[in-house]
Amino acid sequence: MFKKLKEGLRASKGEFTEIRVEKAQRTNVKYEKEKLMNIDSSEEIGGIVRTLVQGGWGIATFNSIDEIPKKAKRAHRIGKEVSSHLDESLKLAEVTPRKDEVKPDQGRDLREVSLDQKRDAVKKYNREMIDYDERIKSTKAIYSDSFRELKYVNSEGTELYQEIPDVTLALVAIARGDKNNIQTAHDTVGEAKGFELVQNREEMARSVASQAISLLSADPVQGGTYTVLLNPKLAGVFIHEAFGHLCEADHFYKNDRLQEIMTLGRKFGPENLNVVDEGYIRGRRGNLPYDDEGVPRQKTYLIKDGKLNSFLHNRETAAKMDQEPTGNARAISYRHEPIVRMTNTYIEEGEKSFEELIGSIDHGIYAKDAYGGQTQLEQFTFSAGHGFVIEDGKIGPMVRDVVLTGNIFKSLKNISGIGNDLDIIGSAGGCGKGGQMPLPVTDGSPHIRIEDVTIGGR
């Protein structure tokens, strides 16, 4: 099974060499309005050699498996060039070599489902949205699946074979009222499992369409500072974007001053706040039994009892900071080297019911769902799908264009309530970092309440 990869290892003269080869089969079906815009069934094979030469990385990627020994030699040449420019050699944290084969928790095998069944499902949901209301002017229904077979070997003796399925469905409805009143709603699902995930989603389609129609008569949110209640989907994006990325050790491991801010044990939030990155939860998109450096999965508490507890590492950052690797080295494909990434990241459940959380808010915003988010270390911003005004502890009218922003250090401290309704959400798309996008991840959280959040608007 690893014959050609091992030939590559033998051809390499570096002090450490790893070779990863990936075979992927993919299907995409995309409807836009009434038209099938794309239906695509493809396969791809490729690999990457990474070798450490006198403390410097040389990397080469390829599509032809027969070229592995040649590429290993090329990677070595590059590594040598790199090391001649380094004043400090790079080291990798020690890990125990592993030999393993991992098959997924497969539901209905994606490779066994015919193309017309896939198309019919997507077509049905698309039709459901179009027929919902004549003000629905456009729709998108996008199905994607992939089945990846990953082989990994390294010069320390690790030999791994993993199969990773992934299936996602994204539904978008665009409604138009008068000229400039164009509103978009969307919902997505995704799992590392089988075809059953995308079956019987008519209700999801209707609710997306209904959302877009409701937004037509919603007012833009009034800009200002509010107490906000985030639903699990938005709170999940919040913790991933605003805090998870900060814990990725490659952001700061070479910078002493950033390390001063991210001091382990420093109080970051209330005592009941716990934030976790967990490498394996049955069926979740963020799953990675072994990461792309062959390090086994782990459950890592980033925040425990309100205090900064751990970072996310690959072998290089772990060695540099004298900590243990956490199994978070991930690459989106064979064209990329692994970098420090999240897997399944969530805020642990608290004790408050939804009524308790909302009941004490005199004037605030209930912000739901997410269009995405971005952070620049301390500053975060993310867009809610929609929101509601909260008056005297009760949900009021719907508002649109809800974009939240703030300083993560302050906002975590301002968490004033954690719900008892944890939901971990696998959505379509994924996370982007360092030119590698989209990486399958999940985010999760119970409802959370945060004081003093700035909401932009007009």
């Binding site: 396969e43 080469a60 070479k254 301390e378 911003t381």
Partner: protein, 440 residues
């Protein structure tokens, strides 16, 4: 092309897109060299039309021709009406898109370029944390179809991007700067370093702005805030589907007369210069907005076919952000965008303002509701303008507005147009009445 010959016998019509590329990305982390990579990619995409229906498949396997045809034909079986035909028009006018010097740049040379840029920044301030990516690539694209089209082009690209951080206790000022070029003589490391240093200088002091409505100057890079929305409005697909506010506005004066925008794929000096798009359509000049009047929309073959109009050479695989990718089918994307500059120098735009903001970079670009023209962004690089002068950076501030309203109002263009990323040349744009929300 052997694949095309085989496809000819098995389907009604077919298009083969071949990409062979080789790139050398070099990465510096916190000012230190981290890795060098050789990325070789070979890919083939096949589109077929069988019984009027469109099918698509891709592979990286050079020997997988027959499987590829089978899979594409299989997808066409379940596909729907293509609504267009492949075009055999061979009217592509070849322009020069290749630079031998770029194609021959060694890893060592790239490393030295990177070191040079970092050294310039560290000469100014040794505490700046600099992450730098520099890469050279050579990509050969070959497109053929059963209607007789056969075009090929080799393009080079040299690009450098910087992420610079200035760290203080609980405050991190981060910004991006970049440049790219098709030829080495267009590659300007000094220029990038100077722009980055200017940003740090302006941000040395902190300033504040109270919530309210202000005039805002968008720097060339800042114009992306406006363009994300504007481009979705000019996308022929959105117009055809009725989700663009510009539907029905062809020939109407919708914007300020100072706004003129052109898509010009073969523009000389563009880092993304090309002779044809990813469907083989000539990448000519398309006036989109001229003196505030909507002149045209962007089309690929399929949408042009549906909307019964001409393709504009904007069928692009992969799009602006992800770059050319043989795996995705072509969709509508700008190639090289040019915004016409105005009369006033940027310095004059600034000195004319009593009170306002200059916005260079925001977080969450394109989030929210770009179709309707609404934007609401947290600024990440923005400066306070007071009494005609920049007084420092602002933090915890959001800007919001609707680009269709703002660009219809008072608009002034700066005189100096700059390349932003790989395919936009824009001047600074000054707008009135932008909402600013400041966290109290």
């Amino acid at each position: 092309m052997e694949l095309l010959d085989r496809a000819r016998h098995e389907v009604d019509s077919a298009e083969v897109f071949q990409k062979i590329s080789s790139s050398v990305p070099v990465k510096f982390n916190s000012g230190k060299l981290e890795s060098v990579k050789h990325v070789d990619t070979t890919g083939v995409a096949l589109r077929v039309i069988q019984d009027g229906k469109l099918g698509f498949s891709t592979t990286t396997n050079p020997d997988g021709n027959s499987e590829l045809i089978d899979r594409a034909r299989e997808t066409a079986k379940f596909g729907e009406d293509a609504g267009f035909e492949f075009s055999g028009d061979g009217a592509v006018e070849k322009v020069d898109t290749f630079d031998r010097e770029v194609s021959e740049l060694t890893a060592k040379k790239l490393i030295n370029y990177g070191k040079e840029a970092i050294a310039k920044l560290h000469d100014f301030d040794p505490d700046l944390e600099v992450n730098l990516d520099i890469s050279r690539s050579v990509g050969k694209t070959k497109i053929g179809n059963t209607e007789g089209l056969e075009v090929e082009e080799e393009k080079t690209k040299l690009s450098l991007s910087l992420e610079v951080k200035k760290v203080a206790e609980d405050d991190i000022f981060t910004f991006h700067e970049s440049c790219s070029a098709q030829k080495t003589d267009q590659f300007d490391i000094d220029g990038v370093a100077e722009k980055a240093i200017q940003k740090v200088k302006w941000a040395e002091r902190e300033s504040e702005i109270a919530s309210g409505t202000y005039p805002v100057i968008f720097t060339p890079r800042g114009t992306l805030v406006l363009l994300v929305s504007l481009l979705s409005g000019l996308n022929g697909q959105n117009v055809f589907q009725g989700t663009s506010p510009l539907k029905g506005d062809l020939g109407n004066k919708v914007f300020s007369e100072n706004l003129s925008l052109v898509d010009y794929g073969s523009f000389e000096g563009s880092p993304s210069r090309r002779s044809f798009d990813d469907e083989g359509t000539p990448a000519g000049k398309t006036e989109l907005i001229s003196g505030g009047v909507v002149k045209n929309f962007l089309y690929d073959l399929q949408t042009a076919g549906q909307a019964d109009t001409d393709p504009t050479g904007n069928g692009v695989k992969g799009g602006l952000i992800s770059g050319s990718d043989f795996r995705s089918p072509p969709s509508i994307s700008p190639t090289t965008l040019l915004i016409s500059p105005g009369e006033k120098r940027v310095g004059k735009l600034i000195s004319d303002l009593d009170s306002g903001l200059m916005v260079d970079q925001v977080l969450g670009l394109g989030q929210g509701n770009p179709l309707s023209g609404e934007f609401s962004n947290n600024v990440s690089v923005a400066y306070r303008i007071d009494d005609g002068a920049i007084t420092g950076k602002v933090k915890n501030t959001m800007i919001a507005g609707n680009i269709y309203e703002l660009l219809a109002g008072e608009v002034e263009m700066g005189q100096e147009a700059e390349w932003v990323g790989g395919g936009l040349k824009a001047p600074a744009i000054a707008l009135e009445n932008v909402n600013v929300v400041r966290k109290s």
